[in-house]
């Protein structure tokens, strides 16, 4: 099987527990204007499953020792569900912990096959406002919530990830919405403050980056926001 991916990154940080290798799948149904991986749309390459597994297995001892594993990210891995499931199967066959980094913005994923293969879901909550999600990212919030509810019903292990995007979701009202949404779930949260490290990629791809001039949040602003989450009784994920 051939996999359409744009990067395999070793010794990743923040993509799940322990020492992890992240496989970045190409393509995504969303069009978030702050995206830091724009190459998922165009700059992908095709690698054989065998090659990908060889790279992933290189770090097997590191996963074992650190209780780490493999994270499948993107783009949106569920947009290439069959390849994603095939890879999860292979990784699992070696007894390696698996994590799936997803926006959950894909309708009716094949959870009956995904759930037994995935140890941890890293699920994005970008906003609680359906209109903003549709207008800015091009997705349906209801799809995200339906999927999240399903995962919850099935008792999946989930970490919610909230990107903090200036001008999109860092105003009080947006944050309040996100917090009251998240409080309905039993999951810990990771805040992902906006950074513009992807700007060079846009230039290389000849694309315009809408967030090129947006300054990252200050450490104090980030701390204030995480204070709000803590005050609402939301745990921070230890990954």
């Amino acid at each position: 099987m051939e996999l359409n991916i744009f990067n395999i990154q070793h010794f990743c940080s923040g993509d799940g527990p322990g020492i992890r290798t992240t496989v970045f799948f190409g393509s995504c149904p969303l069009r978030c204007p702050w995206c830091h991986n724009p190459e998922c749309f165009s700059n992908t390459r095709t690698l054989s499953m065998e090659k990908v597994m060889e790279e992933l297995l290189h770090d097997k001892e590191f996963y074992d020792r650190s209780k780490g594993g493999v994270t499948i990210s993107g783009g949106e891995p569920l947009a290439r569900q069959e390849a994603c499931i095939a890879l999860l199967e292979q990784v699992r066959a070696h007894g390696i912990h698996t994590a799936l980094d997803t926006s959950l913005a894909v309708k009716d994923p094949d959870f009956s096959r995904l759930l037994p293969l995935t140890d941890l879901f890293l699920a994005d909550i970008k906003t609680a406002d359906p209109e903003a999600f549709c207008a800015v990212c091009g997705g349906e919030l209801q799809t995200v919530l339906d999927n999240l509810n399903f995962l919850t019903e099935k008792g999946a292990d989930v970490v919610l990830r909230v990107p903090l995007i200036p001008g999109f979701n860092t105003d009080d009202a947006s944050l309040e919405g996100i917090i009251s949404l998240i409080r309905q779930y039993p999951y810990p949260v990771t805040l992902l403050p906006f950074h513009r490290m992807g700007s060079g990629k846009y230039k290389e791809l000849g694309m315009k980056y809408a967030y090129a001039d947006t300054a990252p949040l200050s450490a104090r602003e980030v701390e204030q926001i995480s204070q709000c989450f803590r005050a609402a009784g939301i745990r921070e994920a230890a990954i």
Binding site: C12, G14, P17, G18, H58, R161, L192, H195, R196, M197
Partner: protein
């Protein structure tokens, strides 16, 4: 009992003020010693040297800072103003008397501080008296032991003179006590050790290690903690107050004393050695946050993860210390040199990373072995490309080498000739001084066996003979170069030997295409055997070579891969190399892959750099690794690094020095991206090479990075 306050910050400020108050000053050691030499022109030489030592200690100022908790300052070495004619006149006497230098075994030493603490100054003086009786009639030994007596008495009186400089009765009591008796409390023990270290500094000795402080001070610490005399916080305050003094050298000499402190590991009995004091030393070094106290942590499989994680947190503050040492590999390497197992287990480091048995062998020395230069000499048939000088042997015309084996045969012959020349020089240098006269009685008294035998440390007094480290230069440059030659010249035949030599001579000007081909060959540090096998070969080959030589006293040559910064001057002298490195650029650093060329991340680097057999590199190696400060943030990240280190050590790695990337490095990476192509910025779901980021984004990261 009065509580021990934290005076570190105040003391540091006071030290800076004191230094600023002096505009012109000079080192008075040669003057003070010279006056004594002039007084004793016909005295037996060792005794004249002892009198000179005594005079220096008598005349030098015993400076006490208002914020001192532990006394002993280097200020007494200096006099205000500029040397006048009187000073110059007497200095001549000292210059004629001479001193041992670095290659003759003067410093880079770790004392048997446990011996000093157990016996006390009085106990050592009693031992000298007994030994004098025992060796009565043996003139040479009587002279040496008399010199020992003079110097230890001078040390005693110098300590008492500190008591006279203060009105604090508790301080007076401590000084008067440790001047004679063995210390009983932690504070007394630490004070006596620091007094001895101060004397070494007054003697002008460099890189004198404090060694295994968490072991030899432990009995005193345990007793004081158990009896409620001190709290852990107070112990840490005393240690900080001591370590911050190491900063005096930076202020007065504009250099850092490479004062190695070694913690953790195992006890001589083989048990896990981590204790409460281990943590106190670690935190105190971290709090001082100055270069100079070179903290080394011996990491054994039995060392608790908790300690390793705490060490990583200190590293992550930007300090870069402690250096992490693989206890199993180091002990195996030392055991192969024939030392007793209990002594091996008690090893520490001197200087940066050099393995040393405290108090049991003469002072350390090492030198630069220009293995990368010998590659150039292989191409040049013994001639230097740039200067045209003959610097090696003729190993045949490279154009006639038909296979990589032929090339390796010639390169090995070139290295062998280089090693012969190197060993010849070191053996002669090491024995340059007459061991009977060029003695260091004080140092000998703080070592094992010298007083008893009536012999100086460098004159057969020590338990073991000397050891010398040949520092193998440029393992990354060499592995990458040999791999590029094999790939381009012999396998793919994309570059002829003739063109390669022309390209190297031309520093690749006009040969850009060839350079690209060479750069594209596999590089050391990416877990690729094509390149890594040459690092394995270099390690084994040089270990075999140097194992054949012996110093005058029978001591061994160790190898090392720890260039400190000498890969920079060594590179300056080297023409372009086949790995694509340009003429004059630094060689790869220490045992690390060439910076920027291990691009697949830490897990691949670790796999590569555990391939060489470091149990054959008894002096030690250094693998420098850079991580962004965020890699140290939070318990999850610390645990990741901890697991990485454990795998690295289980695989046979010897040492790792981790640097949290400082502002300085980030700025340098913006100006010289070619040197920092491995610098990765990792955040969730994303990572990028720092040098590929746009300038504004680089500035974002820079603004979030603390000053180092």
């Amino acid at each position: 009992m009065a509580a021990v306050p934290n005076t570190t910050k105040a003391l540091k400020e006071e030290m800076i003020c004191r230094r600023k108050a002096t505009s012109r000053f000079f080192c008075n050691a040669a003057w003070y010693k010279g006056m004594s030499y002039a007084e004793h022109p016909t005295e037996e030489i060792p005794i004249a040297r002892a009198y000179a030592f005594q005079n220096m200690l008598t005349l030098g100022e015993k400076h006490i800072y208002a914020n001192d908790l532990i006394f002993g300052s280097i200020i007494g070495q200096y006099s205000d103003g500029i040397p006048d004619d009187d000073v110059r006149y007497y200095e001549n006497f000292s210059h004629i008397a001479g001193e041992r230098g670095w290659l003759q075994g003067c410093d880079h030493y770790a004392s048997a501080y446990d011996r000093l603490l157990q016996l006390g100054v009085g106990g050592i003086l009693a031992e000298i008296r007994d030994s004098l009786k025992k060796h009565s009639g043996d003139r040479e030994k009587e002279i040496f032991l008399t010199a020992c007596r003079i110097e230890m008495e001078a040390f005693r009186d110098w300590i008492i003179a500190h008591a006279e400089k203060t009105e604090d009765p508790e301080i007076q009591r401590i000084c008067r006590k440790v001047a004679v008796e063995p210390p009983a409390s932690f504070r007394e023990a630490l004070q006596l050790v620091w007094f001895a270290h101060t004397i070494y500094q007054w003697q002008g000795l460099y890189a004198m290690a404090l060694g295994r402080m968490d072991q030899y001070l432990y009995p005193y610490y345990r007793r004081d903690i158990d009896e409620g005399v001190l709290t852990d916080e107070e112990v840490q305050n005393l240690l900080e107050n001591t370590f911050i003094k190491i900063y005096e050298q930076r202020l007065w000499l504009d250099r850092d004393d490479v004062c190695n402190i070694c913690v953790a590991g195992v006890t001589p009995g083989g048990e896990n050695a981590v204790n409460g004091l281990t943590y106190a030393v670690l935190y105190a070094v971290g709090k001082c946050n100055i270069p100079g106290p070179n903290l080394s942590a011996r990491i054994h499989p039995d060392t608790p993860d908790h300690f390793l994680c705490e060490a990583l947190k200190v590293i992550g503050t930007g300090l870069g210390y402690p250096a992490l040492m693989n206890d199993e590999v180091n002990m195996k390497a030392l055991a192969s040199m024939g030392y007793d197992l209990r002594d091996v287990r008690n090893y520490c480091m001197v200087g940066c990373i050099e393995n040393f048995l405290p108090g049991l062998q003469p002072p350390w020395s090492d030198g630069r072995f220009d293995s990368a230069k010998m590659l150039e000499l292989t191409f040049g048939r013994g001639y230097d490309f740039r200067t045209g000088e003959r610097k090696g042997i003729d190993t045949g015309d490279p154009l006639t080498f038909e296979t990589m084996d032929d090339f390796m045969w010639a390169y090995e012959a070139q290295i062998k000739a280089g090693a012969e020349f190197y060993a010849f020089r070191i053996i002669r240098e090491n024995a340059r001084y007459n061991n009977r006269d060029y003695v260091n009685p004080f140092l000998s008294c703080l070592s094992v066996g010298c007083v008893e035998k009536g012999k100086d440390l460098c004159n057969g007094g020590s338990v073991y003979p000397a050891a010398h480290g040949a520092v193998i230069m440029g393992i990354g440059t060499i592995a990458d170069s040999l791999c590029a030659i094999e790939q381009c010249v012999y396998k793919e035949k994309s570059i002829s030997m003739e063109t390669l030599i022309a390209a190297l001579k031309a520093d690749f000007v006009g040969y850009e295409k060839e350079r690209d081909l060479l750069l594209a060959a596999p590089k050391y540090g990416n877990d690729c055997d094509d390149a890594d096998k040459y690092a394995v070969w270099l390690t084994d080959y040089t270990a075999d070579l140097f194992d054949q030589y012996r110093l005058e006293d029978g001591g061994r040559f160790y190898t090392a891969m720890a260039s400190n910064t000498s890969n920079i001057p060594a590179g300056r002298e080297c023409a372009a190399t086949p790995d694509g490195r340009k003429a004059g650029e630094p060689l790869s650093d220490a045992a690390s892959p060439t910076y920027g060329r291990d691009r697949r991340g830490p897990t691949y680097t670790v796999r590569s750099v555990t391939k060489p057999d470091y149990t054959r590199v008894a002096c030690g190696t250094v693998i420098n690794q850079k991580y962004s400060p965020s890699a140290f943030r939070g318990d999850a990240n610390i645990a990741r690094l901890c697991a990485l280190i454990r795998i690295y050590f289980a695989g046979g790695g010897q040492e790792m020095q981790i640097n949290s990337v400082s502002r300085e490095i980030l700025i340098d990476a913006m100006e010289h991206p070619e040197n920092h192509q491995d610098l990765v910025v990792r955040v969730s779901g994303f990572s990028a090479y720092y040098t590929k980021l746009e300038r504004e984004v680089q500035l974002d990261i820079l603004s979030r990075t603390e000053q180092g």
